[in-house]
């Protein structure tokens, strides 16, 4: 039980991801979380503005349920399965973050400098949250999938488009981490 409450290693997380992908396929769905964002747009009558939102989103009910489950999983993990939120980071990562002005890196899952109340109530803070989300949503649909659809499902199916998308994910991520984050903070 103690090992269960400790942070799970990658060799537990990775196989669970693969099993979830296969079970979703077996149940007649697929592993692709960002499709739900398109379904939300359609639900909000986005079909009045673009044909892109005229699709059979109601057949995606299973995917929306998967996301509701993910939220519940977060609640369960936070309240019953976590003894400490402290994350053991590479000391070099900690130093780099302190140089950017982040206090106590790894003392919780997210940096309060971005996600804390003070940040949310400032113009810069709310823009960071909105723009980061915007890029994820826009980029995922432009690329035809996100980490689950391309990096896990697509690569497992040995699809070249997914490999190109994953290379793109990394180019963007490296640019943000090494060039833009030091400018923003």
């Amino acid at each position: 039980m103690d090992a269960f409450l400790q942070p799970w290693p990658w060799y537990v997380a990775g196989p669970i991801l693969a099993i979830i992908m296969v079970l979703l396929l077996y149940f007649g769905g697929y592993f692709g979380v960002s499709s739900n964002l398109r379904a939300i747009c359609s639900m909000a009558r986005g079909d009045k503005f673009s044909d892109f939102f005229k699709w059979d989103w109601k057949s995606q009910w299973w995917n929306l349920l998967f996301v509701v489950g993910a939220i519940i999983g977060g609640v369960i993990a936070a309240n019953y399965l976590t003894t400490s939120e402290n994350i053991v980071l590479n000391p070099e990562t900690v130093t780099a973050l302190q140089e950017l002005g982040f206090e106590n890196p790894g003392s919780s899952f997210l940096p309060s400098e971005i996600f804390g109340v003070e940040s949310v109530l400032s113009l810069k803070g709310i823009l960071i949250l909105l723009i980061s989300g915007f890029l994820v949503g826009f980029g995922a649909r432009y690329a035809g999938g996100c980490t689950s659809g391309h990096a896990i499902s697509g690569l497992s199916n040995l699809q070249l488009p997914s490999l190109i998308a994953v290379i793109g994910f990394f180019i963007g991520g490296l640019l943000m981490t090494h060039i833009f984050l030091p400018i923003i903070f």
């Binding site: 942070p7 799970w8 537990v12 997380a13 990775g14 991801l17 693969a18 979830i20 992908m21 296969v22 079970l23 979703l24 149940f27 007649g28 960002s34 964002l37 503005f49 673009s50 892109f52 939102f53 349920l65 998967f66 996301v67 489950g69 993910a70 939220i71 999983g73 977060g74 609640v75 369960i76 993990a77 936070a78 990562t93 973050l97 899952f109 997210l110 971005i114 949310v120 949250l129 989300g133 915007f134 890029l135 949503g137 826009f138 980029g139 995922a140 649909r141 432009y142 690329a143 035809g144 996100c146 896990i152 499902s153 488009p161 998308a165 793109g168 994910f169 990394f170 180019i171 943000m176």
Partner: protein, 137 residues
């Protein structure tokens, strides 16, 4: 029951993503600095097993619960959309420290500011839908 299995898979996904710290902004930052094996090990082992599972599914023509052929829909070949879309996604991923799945898990975990990130993601999806025909694909 038809509904419950997807809900339960989501619950398992959410618990695993939280317990393996994949929902942590810091883990994503560390990954893009190549200072930890954790995320590479996670994605690497998932894909390695995934390739094996998909290979076996195709080889033995395993069907879904409903008896339909089990497969992942192929994507149309292009470079522009996957590379450009991918780069934009990556910029957002490293700034938010979360891709779509973790965003929802984090809301459940109690980080409600992720609701703002999710509304940004819905807006991004919406704007893509509006300008889709004018974008190079």
């Amino acid at each position: 029951m038809n509904y419950l299995k997807f809900l339960l898979l989501g619950v398992g996904f959410g618990i695993m993503m939280a317990k393996a710290e994949i929902i942590s902004w810091f883990r994503i930052y560390e990954m893009f600095r190549f200072e930890s094996f954790h995320m590479y090990g996670t994605i690497g082992s998932a894909v390695t097993l995934g390739v094996l599972f998909i290979f076996l599914i195709k080889k033995f023509q395993i069907t879904t619960q409903e008896g339909e052929p089990m497969s992942i829909a192929p994507k149309k070949m292009s470079i522009t959309r996957y590379l450009l879309g991918g780069i934009l996604f990556g910029l957002g991923w490293a700034l938010a420290g979360a891709c779509p799945g973790p965003m929802f898990v984090l809301v459940g975990y109690g980080y409600l500011s992720l609701l703002i990130v999710i509304s940004g993601a819905v807006m991004g999806t919406f704007i893509y839908g509006i300008f889709r025909k004018r974008l190079p694909h």
